[in-house]
Amino acid sequence: MRTRIILSVALSCFLFATSQAQEYNQDAIKELEKKVDAVSPGSTKFLLTGYATTGLTLTKDASTFEPTSFSPIFLWKTSDKLFFEGELEMEYEDGELEIGIEYADISYKLAKNFTVRAGKFLLPYGIFTDRLHAAWINKLPSKPLGFDHGGVGPTDDVGFEVLGGVQLGNSKATYAFYAVNGPSLMDGSEDPMQAGMLNYENLADNNKNKALGGRIGFLPFTNSLLELGFSGQSSMPGNKETDYEKTTAFLYAGDLTYVKGIEQIKGTVDIKAQYNGANVGKANYIDASDSTGATTYTFDNTSNAWFAQLAYRPTMMSNKIVKSFEIAARYSSIKTPDKSLWADEKTQWTIGLNYWLSWRTVFKLAYGMDKTPGVSKTENTFMVNVAMGF
């Protein structure tokens, strides 16, 4: 009888303790759920990311600390279909802060592999501007000749675009087609030295025509390591109601990407190349040396710029320090019309050594050699640069 009483009391104590523990656990779980709910995102997901860069450039005659450039990128995903991306470009130059919008566009996924976007966006004209221009991605501190703003070919524009990627058996293709304001033709009325040049910063359109263009990318192999791309853009860039209204401009580009880890050389080889060409229809421009304005001149208005780049990083080495190093070499060239007042012909070698502090922060040292045909001496530049993505 006594044993039975003791057992009953023990069982009651155990049951009481268990129920108390369960109650406590449930309270703790509810508390935890409240905390998680408070910090978990709703349907709107926002990310502030971007990159910053600064550096030093040394030439024979000057040494300059490059102004720090800071480019915050704002990404809003409001649903699985609707998305906004915007990048600001902030630079401190000549004692003043310059702010620009690199891109700001709204994308909507209409179908599985079919997205439409509108706004100011980086044009799919080759790969450099669209994919490689960010300082923490670019393997060298400088851009190839003719691939910066005002080079041969557009970088960004305002309009709309349809894009996507599709599997083709073991291969893959990508597409992007767009209609944008397009470039404007500088007829020399503002600056005679620039007559015949295309101005790609034509954000408020100078005529009713729209530039149509696009890029087709093809990744032939299953591993997607090789990509070939072909881009084109057609426009009529002349100011409306002028002699240049019917002048045409056709821009085209071809690009190549090949990135592969190779066991035999214990590292990753990264090859990039792009060729940009611009054909502007012939037009007569006023010769500024004739004060009457009656004399005109014309020229074959074709330009091109291209680069080929090779980088190697010993990613398969076991030593952490060794695998953080990377070497890169790039050859680039630009040629603008011979008989224009903005004729330019130059080639450039740039060789660099990088050290990756993290996957998105890099310290770069590079040496550039610019050569102009007919000039025996090269213009040499030593560059030091730090770029950080965040």
């Binding site: 995903k77 599985k112 990627g165 591993n223 997607s224 990509e227």
Partner: protein, 89 residues
């Protein structure tokens, strides 16, 4: 101008072909690719592949959509890569 028209006609034909073949079944070799494999193949074409710890799950979803637009990833590739980055340690 004629050659430009031809150029765009070519692009249009290619686009139509792409649209037509996009409905084709993906090969087994492609459909069996894991998020890990796709992450290594696609990110590295432009930049170093980010570690999964660089962002939280909600941020990976946003980045996934950003990269789908920027790098013309297919929806399947994007989903697999984002799921991989959300779950891997």
């Amino acid at each position: 101008m004629k050659k430009y028209k031809n150029y765009f006609a070519t692009i249009a034909v290619i686009a139509v072909i792409i649209a037509a073949v996009s409905s084709c079944a993906t090969t087994q070799k492609i459909s069996e690719k894991t998020g890990n494999v796709l992450w290594q193949e696609n990110c590295l074409r432009c930049h170093n592949s980010p570690p999964s710890t660089a962002f939280n799950n909600a941020q990976w979803e946003t980045i996934g959509l950003h990269m789908q637009v920027r790098a013309n990833l297919t929806e399947t590739e994007t989903q697999k890569i984002v799921e991989y980055l959300k779950t891997v340690e």
